[in-house]
């Protein structure tokens, strides 16, 4: 018997049906599900943070802190950090939203939010960077950053791993495995007492705090984001990308801006969650989409006017939302690399003036975009598909910094 005949019979005996997997068939199995979304809103000027139930707009909590706050949610969503730059303190709020992952489904427990008794004091807290189960707190006017486990914060314990930042500067630190990537200040120039030195690069330190390798140049480092296993930092000359290097530690690569790009740079970066990419501002009236593994990493996106704020949609991986100073909200499709929709959502908010003047900020919750409108003491809720305003939530004062936490999960 020829081998080929045997082979044909064998193949004929194999079931002819193939698995055609319809898109969406990877969705979770049916469980009894519940859903909860909460907005955390800090006032522009007054030292207060409010927690609002996104569904009915009711205030669930109101916390008086020490100074006006900038809000950051932890990776798990269980904690929101209120960094008060002028008051030298960071407060932590337990969100009451707790997911636990069980592989093919996740559970959701909802409880009362609360201002936690743990606080973090340090001179001029700036960037708060959440990662996995911990957070890195950077103090601009100290020479340290602190790494703190979220579980400890929620338990009311304060145990910190200190990172030496060499000299006070407006910087940032991010963990990568057992290493820390930390901004490096220019230590050679004299600065006036009320000024901070510029950043000149990025250092990698190990768990003993010892520097690994040379500092990588990144002039005026500002902006940091994580996407997949990569961390990107904004620099004047390009974007510096760190990727895990195994036993040798993180590898740092500069992606210089193309020669034909306008002479400006990125200073605010966001990182994709379902896909590996970065979205950054590029000057005032442009954005850049960055694919760090592509031969040509950058795609420039033009905006009609200057941007006020931008956010990625965690549930719709293709979507990013950009609010410009003319009051328009734009939808950017990151796969197409183009703006695909826009609509007027607020009055114009000119970008003339100080960067921190009261202007809208964005958060994305449950397929909708929450837009703080400080002039009108409102959070505007805009449907992400139609870009129509569906309702408003009254928030006393000047609602400014905002984060949204929540989602759906199984309840047992």
């Amino acid at each position: 018997m020829r081998l080929s005949l045997t082979r044909n019979r064998l193949l004929a005996a194999v079931a002819a049906s193939l698995v055609f997997i319809a898109p969406g068939a990877f969705a979770d199995e049916d469980h009894e599900t519940k859903e909860a979304w909460r907005l955390f809103v800090a006032d522009h000027t007054n030292p207060v943070v409010r927690v609002i139930d996104f569904k009915d707009g009711k205030e669930l909590g109101r916390y008086d802190v020490k100074g006006y706050a900038s809000l950051t949610a932890s990776a798990s969503g269980q904690t929101v950090f209120a960094a008060q730059t002028e008051a030298d303190v960071i407060h932590a709020i337990r969100t009451g939203i707790n997911f636990s992952d069980h592989g093919e489904h996740r559970d959701l427990e909802v409880s009362e939010p609360a201002l936690l008794p743990v606080t973090f004091e340090g001179k001029r807290p700036g960037h708060v960077v959440p990662h996995d189960d911990h957070v890195v707190l950077f103090y601009d006017r100290a020479d340290k950053a602190e790494i703190v486990d979220e579980a400890d914060i929620l338990d009311g314990k304060v145990e910190k791993r200190i990172v030496d930042t060499i000299k006070p500067h407006h910087g940032v630190a991010v963990t990568m495995g057992r290493y820390v990537l930390v901004s490096a200040p220019n230590t050679e120039i004299e600065t006036k007492p009320d000024e901070l030195p510029p950043r000149i690069g990025l250092r990698v330190v190990d768990e003993k705090g010892e520097q690994v390798g040379e500092m990588a140049r990144c002039t005026d480092l500002h902006g940091e984001a994580t996407s997949a296993r990569l961390v990107a930092f904004g620099c004047k000359e390009g974007v510096l990308v760190a990727r895990p290097g195994g036993l040798d530690g993180p590898k740092l690569t500069m992606l210089p801006y193309p020669d034909d790009f306008p002479k400006t740079y990125t200073g605010t970066l966001l990182g994709g969650k379902a896909m590996q990419f970065f979205l950054g501002n590029y000057g005032d009236d442009k954005l850049v989409l960055i694919d760090a593994d592509a031969e040509q990493p950058y795609k420039l996106i033009e905006l009609p006017t200057r941007r006020v704020d931008f956010q990625l949609d965690p549930a719709e991986p293709r979507n990013a939302y950009i609010l410009t100073e003319d009051g328009d909200l734009h939808v950017l499709d990151v796969v197409k690399g183009a703006i695909v929709n826009k609509a007027k959502v607020t009055q114009p908010y000119s970008k003339d003036g100080h960067w921190r003047d009261p202007r809208p900020r964005l958060a994305v919750a449950d397929g909708q975009i929450a837009v703080t409108d400080p002039r009108h003491s409102l959070v505007r809720v805009v449907d992400a598909d139609t870009l129509k305003e569906t309702r408003t939530i009254a928030v006393e004062g000047q609602p400014f910094s905002i984060v949204a936490v929540g989602g759906s999960g199984a309840s047992h």
């Binding site: 698995v19 990877f26 592509a294």
Partner: protein, 324 residues
């Protein structure tokens, strides 16, 4: 000596997502999740298909992170070919992000999957411990990483590769009925070549003395090869390269290697060499070369298509073992 004839190369594969915008005779736009499936698809589809590969040569699908360009490729595709068996952990979110209307086909359908080595290991330990649930006091050493129930590396058996090829031909026939006769003829011709390859592989393994048929690789990628052809593979990393081997895992492996008298140790094209170098130093076993486990080589390399890959791997192992 094992035959190292190379076969004619075929049209180039696109590896960076997206399809060529120039005029093309291609009837089907196909996305293949990784280079080995792309090679099968090219042999079946010929000029009728235009293929985009997500995880290209020397790429590691276990840790691959999809990008917007990949979503764009899926969006424009007619057929998407995936291995399945949880090899492509990134695929479901990429499919969702792309909104693709393409048929997504698991090309392992119809094979007899092997349990993953970790699953077998845990099952054996539970039996030995005499109870179902407790693992107290046992250094499991696998905390912190996830693995599927089955070993996904089914292409390391040529018998399975033939099933892959048949599934791909059926998928192309479904999507392009006019081309079905071509796809069927191409797949039958290619399967005949795979049949010859398998005969050669079996003869090559037979030529290795039975007491020398244990080798070490970086991760558990060769379970199907072992099952089919009788060479024994041990590895510090499990079924996926994602989890780094712990120090305890490595120490245990070194003891096992010394005890089982492994004949050779190999790097893999997709993994970091440091771990294998460490084991080589500690056991005194020389590194016998690089094997192509989860990805083909680039076009200039020795394993730029599946048949060459298989021949190169067997040749490399045979030479290292017989030379040891």
């Amino acid at each position: 000596m094992f035959n190292t004839l190379r076969f004619a190369t075929y049209a180039s594969l696109l590896t960076l997502g997206g399809f060529a915008s120039s005029a093309s005779a291609a009837e089907l736009k196909v996305v293949a999740s990784f280079s080995i499936i792309a090679d099968f698809a090219k042999n079946v589809g010929g000029d009728r298909v235009e293929i985009s590969t997500l995880v290209g040569p020397d790429g590691d699908a276990h840790v691959y992170e999809p990008r917007p360009a990949d979503a764009a490729a899926l969006e424009g595709a007619d057929v998407v070919l995936v291995n399945g068996l949880q090899f492509e952990g990134f695929m479901s979110r990429l499919i969702e992000a792309s909104g693709t209307k393409a048929s997504v086909v698991e090309v392992t359908k119809g094979i007899e999957p092997l349990k993953s080595a970790e699953e077998e290991h845990e099952a054996v330990e539970k039996t030995e411990a005499g109870h179902d649930h407790e693992e107290a006091g046992h250094d499991h050493g696998h905390e912190g990483h996830h693995h599927g129930e089955f070993d996904p590396h089914a292409w390391q058996s040529i018998h399975n590769a033939e099933i892959y090829v048949k599934n791909i031909a059926d998928a192309f026939c479904e999507a392009d009925k006019a081309g079905c006769a071509t796809y069927t003829a191409n797949s039958e011709a290619y399967i005949a070549r795979l049949g010859k390859l398998e005969t050669e592989v079996k003869a090559a393994i037979e030529a290795i003395p039975a007491d020398k048929r244990t080798v070490i690789t970086s991760h558990d990628a060769f379970g199907y090869f072992e099952h089919e052809y009788g060479l024994r593979f041990i590895a510090p990393e499990g079924i996926s390269t994602e989890a780094e081997a712990s120090a305890a895992d490595v120490a245990k492996l070194i003891d096992q290697v010394k005890h089982d008298k492994a004949s050779a140790i190999f790097l893999e094209n997709i993994t970091n060499p440091r771990l294998i170098e460490q084991i080589s130093t500690e056991t005194g076993i020389r590194i016998g070369g690089t094997l192509y486990s989860d990805a083909l080589s680039g076009r200039e390399g020795p394993a730029s298509n599946y048949i060459d890959m298989f021949r190169y791997n067997v040749n490399t192992m045979q030479a290292a073992i017989l030379g040891s």
